[in-house]
C-alpha cells in the first residue's frame, strides 16, 4: 500500500481541486459575459479589452513567485517536504501565468502605443521575474538528488524574491521611461469596466489556485510512488 504524504498542504490541495474547478467554470462564464458587455474603448478599440486579461495574469504571476519563495523558506525552516511541493507547484504554474503576461503585454502595447516592447519598469521587472522562474525550474531539473534540488531551489527562490524590490528601484534609477499607465485609483478604469476587471482578477487567482492544487496532488502522488519504489525489494519492478 502506498503511503501517500498526508500533511495539511497535501490534504488541502486534494480537497480544493474540485471546488476550485467548479468555481473557475462559473466565474469564467460570468467574466466572459462581462467582458463582452464592456464598452469598447474609443481610442484603442477592442484591443483595450486586454486590460481584463493582462493585469489579472500579472497578479497571479507575482503571487505565484511569492508563494514559491515562502514555500521554499518554510521548507528550509521546517523540513517538511510538503512546503517544497507547494513551492515547486507554484513555480510551475506561476511561470505559465508569467509567460502569458509577457505575451499579452506586447499585444496590447502594439495596439495602444504602437510598439511591441519598451523598457519601462513594470515590463522589465516582469521579464526578469520570468527569467528567475525559468532559472528556478532549470535548477530543479539539473540538480541531482531530490532533497538537494529542493534545498537549492528554496535558496534561489528567496534570493529571487529579494531582488524584485531592488530591481524596481534600480530600474527607476536608470530612468526606465514609464509607459505603463499608473492606475489603481478608484474609478480610474472608466464606467462599465469595473466588473469585468474584478472578475478577471478573481478568475486568474482561482485558476491559479486550481492549477496549483492539481499540481500539488500530482507531486504528492509522485513522491509516494518514488518512496514505494525505493523501498521495494529487488525484482518487484519486474514482477
Amino acid at each position: 500500500m502506498m503511503a501517500i504524504p498526508d500533511s495539511a498542504i497535501d490534504r488541502g490541495a486534494r480537497a480544493l481541486v474540485l471546488p476550485t474547478g467548479i468555481l473557475l467554470a462559473v466565474l469564467t462564464g460570468a467574466w466572459l459575459a462581462a467582458v463582452a458587455r464592456a464598452p469598447v474603448d474609443a481610442g484603442q478599440g477592442i484591443i483595450a479589452k486586454v486590460v481584463f486579461v493582462h493585469p489579472p495574469l500579472a497578479f497571479a504571476a507575482y503571487a505565484g513567485f511569492m508563494l514559491t519563495a515562502i514555500g521554499g523558506a518554510l521548507f528550509l525552516w521546517r523540513g517538511d517536504e510538503a512546503w517544497d511541493r507547494l513551492a515547486r507547484a507554484s513555480a510551475e504554474v506561476g511561470v505559465l501565468f508569467c509567460t502569458l503576461v509577457i505575451v499579452t503585454g506586447p499585444i496590447w502595447a502594439k495596439g495602444a502605443w504602437g510598439r511591441w516592447w519598451s523598457w519601462d519598469p513594470r515590463l522589465t521587472i516582469t521579464l526578469l521575474l520570468w527569467f528567475v522562474y525559468l532559472a528556478y525550474l532549470l535548477l530543479r531539473s539539473f540538480t541531482e538528488g531530490n532533497e538537494r534540488a529542493a534545498r537549492f531551489a528554496a535558496v534561489y527562490g528567496i534570493a529571487g524574491l529579494a531582488v524584485i524590490p531592488l530591481n524596481y528601484f534600480a530600474i527607476k534609477l536608470a530612468g526606465g521611461r514609464a509607459m505603463h499607465p499608473e492606475n489603481l485609483r478608484q474609478g480610474s478604469l472608466g464606467a462599465g469596466m469595473g466588473w469585468p476587471f474584478a472578475l478577471g482578477a478573481l478568475v486568474c487567482l482561482v485558476a491559479f489556485a486550481h492549477l496549483l492544487a492539481r499540481r500539488i496532488e500530482v507531486e504528492t502522488l509522485r513522491s509516494a510512488l518514488a518512496e514505494r519504489v525505493a523501498r521495494a525489494p529487488r525484482g518487484l519492478e519486474h514482477g
Binding site: L134, A135, A159, V163
Partner: protein
C-alpha cells in the same frame, strides 16, 4: 573569524602557486574589451565616453562569471566539498572566506582590465581612479556574494558552467544598474549620484545577508 581568514588565505595561496584562474580571467577580460572595441567601429570619442561605463561592466561581469565558475573547482576536483561542509566551523564564515578570496582575485583582474580598457577606448581613468575603485568595489561585493553562493549550487548541477550565469544574471541587474550609472557619472566628470550608491549599498547588504544565511543550506556532503 579565524575560519574566514583561513579559507581566504588557503584560496589566495593556492591561486598564487598556480595563478591559472587569475590569468585566465584577465586574458578573457582583455579579449572581451577588444571584442567590444571591434563591435563599435567608427564611434566618436564623445559617444564612447557615454557607452564606456556599460561596456566596462560587461567585461567585469564576464570575468567574474569565469572566475566564480571555478570558485569551488579545486574542492570539487579533490573531493574536498564534503570536507568543507563537515569542517567544525560556522558555514557563514566559510562563505565569507570564499567570497573574500573571489573578491580579491576579481579586484586584481578588474584593475588590469581597467588599464586595458582605458588604452583600448582612449579614456584617461587616472583622475577618477579612487572613486571608480570605490564603485567597482561596491559592485564586486554584490557580484561575489551571490556569485559565491550560487557557485556552490552550480557546482553540484549538470551543465554547471551554464547554470551559474543563468542563476545570477537576473539577480545582478540592480548591481549593474547602480554601478553603471555611478561609473557613467564619474566618467562625465561628475560625482556619483547618491541614489546609485544607496542602491549599491542596499543591494550588497541584502545579498550578503541572503548569501551568508543561505550558504548553510547549500553546502552539503
Amino acid at each position: 573569524m579565524n575560519t574566514l581568514l583561513a579559507i581566504l588565505w588557503k584560496d589566495l595561496v593556492s591561486e598564487w602557486r598556480s595563478r591559472d584562474r587569475v590569468v585566465a580571467m584577465a586574458l578573457f577580460s582583455f579579449l572581451v574589451v577588444i571584442v567590444l572595441h571591434f563591435s563599435l567601429p567608427d564611434v566618436d570619442p564623445v559617444e564612447v565616453r557615454r557607452l564606456a561605463p556599460g561596456l566596462l561592466w560587461v567585461a567585469y561581469v564576464f570575468a567574474a562569471l569565469l572566475g566564480l565558475n571555478r570558485a569551488f573547482a579545486l574542492e570539487l576536483e579533490n573531493e574536498a566539498l564534503s570536507a568543507l561542509a563537515m569542517a567544525p566551523a560556522d558555514r557563514g564564515f566559510v562563505f565569507l572566506g570564499k567570497a573574500a578570496a573571489n573578491f580579491v582575485l576579481l579586484a586584481v583582474v578588474q584593475f588590469a582590465t581597467a588599464v586595458v580598457f582605458g588604452l583600448a577606448f582612449a579614456l584617461d581613468l587616472v583622475p577618477v581612479a579612487a572613486p571608480l575603485a570605490g564603485i567597482v568595489a561596491l559592485g564586486s561585493l554584490g557580484i561575489c556574494s551571490v556569485g559565491t553562493l550560487f557557485s556552490a549550487v552550480a557546482v553540484r548541477t549538470r551543465y554547471r558552467e551554464v547554470m551559474l550565469p543563468l542563476l545570477i544574471l537576473p539577480l545582478l541587474v540592480p548591481v549593474l544598474l547602480g554601478a553603471v550609472s555611478a561609473t557613467a557619472a564619474l566618467l562625465q566628470g561628475e560625482r556619483a549620484p547618491s541614489a546609485s550608491i544607496q542602491l549599491l549599498i542596499v543591494t550588497d547588504a541584502v545579498f550578503l545577508v541572503v548569501s551568508f544565511l543561505g550558504f548553510d543550506y547549500v553546502l552539503d556532503e
